[in-house]
Amino acid sequence: MSKGSVTSPRKAKESPKTGISPASKTPGKSSSKSTGDTGTGAGVTRELARKGYRTMLEARLLEEKLAALYRSGKIVGGVFLGRGQEALSVALGLHLRRGDIYAPLIRDQAGRLAFGDTILDTLRTYLGSILGSMRGRDGNIHRGRPSEGYHAMISHLGAMVSTVCGGLVARRFRGESGVVGATCIGEGGTSTGSFHEGLNMAAVEKLPLVVVVANNQFSYSTPNDRQFACPDLTARAAGYGIVGRRAVGNDLIDCLRVIGEAVAAARSGEGPQLVVADLLRLVGHGEHDDASYIPESLKKSELGRDCLLLARESLIEKGWMTEEEAVAWRDAVALEVEETASKVLREPAPDPVDEDWNAFASLGREGEQ
């Protein structure tokens, strides 16, 4: 697997992408310059990488807390973690701006935080707090604020691709340009009809859509040889007439670079972008699952290396972060997570009596009754 390869539907595009992503308008969303080098972090700034690491750390510690709350019976239902996938996830979230559209999926805690979601709302949603964005009506990974461009996934895999397309079509109707819509999906989700229809539609409409496929080699327990038969999912891009790119899924700098290029390309009107990254999830499908179906050899391979440790090493090596900073950040984040969790655990649950029990926006309760 070579780093940063780009497959393009047209011959003319076969060389690696070069481009400058537009400067971010929101504080904390840094710009990334790509020089087209492969296998380096060229174009990824110190500031962006630090932000990436810090957000990955937040996601990791928050998720560890979620797992603990699940084990202690405080979270009912399920907990679905993105451990091992934070680098890829955060890279997408960081390259988006307020005003973009983002539909994260199961393993995108890091991307969500980078996009502007909070530790507070994550805990509220998992714990079903009435103060959370989903008000206890929906939970865990099914959370968002659609009216702010942050879509709340439904469980049905693939369904969010076309929904994001719709958001982008609306923006086009309003004459807004420079907007990007993005979603992430597992390699298993690429087998759904929805994924196909959505990607094809985006290509026909030449929408500024970025789809990141986190190929963690398993969909739940199912290995890739029972899920698809092509050696590399980027091969799908040509069939849609869109650009396909590869990133190294557990390498923060590479993810930031490749996704930065994809987002920049989409933003500048080059149409839909498919990014595929190989990695492993370092947890079960959900916290009920011990992932014993993942072979030890795979866990011990390059794919199984923890992106958070790798990012730490790499940032320190580059002189972009000191050991001391890493420790201080970890302590700060751990504290924030703990304090937030205690606070949310004391928040009110939804009260069935106060609920309006009405699924309609414009009708009285059931209209008919």
Binding site: S147, I154, T163, F173, E197, N358, A359, F360, A361, E368
Partner: protein
Amino acid sequence: MSSITYLEAIRLAQRKALADDPRVFLYGQDIGTFGGAFKATKSLAKEFPGRVLDSPISEDAMVGLAIGAAVEGMRPIVEMQFADFSTCGFNQIVNQAATLHYRTGTACPIVVRLPSGGTPGSGPFHSQSMEAIYAHYPGLVVMTPATVDDAYSMLLEAVALDDPVIFCEHKFLYYHLKAEQLPDQALPFGKARIARPGRDVTVVTHGAMLHESLAAAEELSSDGYDIEVVDLRTVRPLDTDTILASVARTGRLLAVGEAWPWGGVTAEVVARVASEGFGLLDAPPQRLNAKETPVPYHPALWGTHRPTAGTIASSLRHLLEL
């Protein structure tokens, strides 16, 4: 204006919606330059450049796209080429559109137009009436206009609503029904209509069956019976009040539906009347529906499969003797 068909009323409603509201756009297969399989969007692409878009054959993504656009404040109208193909967009309709407001507080004002119901020779996959399927899901409004006036005014109403609307327009009525002019007023949203007043039996129905029921009522009037016919117009919400008020007058109920009985509109109507208006009934409430097979192709089978004025009249005679 000379005479306006039910189909033309649908076209004109979309035209008005496009003209009045910049948030409206149309999305569907062959609806652009071609004007749609039934011409319900004829010339609209030309009149409203860029706002009437041909979609790929991707019902799931078509609905998904509409949902995403609605979240951003647009008012998309999606045309399914036939109601029957909405099964391929079923998941987006019932799991994403229907739940969005409840889950997130964000409204999902989309309209999905379903050319519905049977016509001769159309067979199992171009004839279905899916209103009961969608009406099962809280969060969806389901409309079934049965007149030219309603085709027009209810489609405008659908576009104005903040909820997802499944608009079951009836293909059999497309050319069959004509009106002299467009309505300038309409019943309030969700209200059923007494299409024919009477005192002996209440027939509750909707869509193409309204006209079969009216013909049956006419037939029975020559025997001296006075049949009241209620046109539901909107099946979700269902106007139980109007139905109960009618049954209070007549004491007898026949629910007629073109779809299959199990869990259909007739089941819901009869169940509500039985539980909420039991004391009003002088005889067992009855149902008449399509036969329990796919909709057959041959016109002779089709004509027997669905209720007709003749079978409705027989059911009414039977009910009058109970």
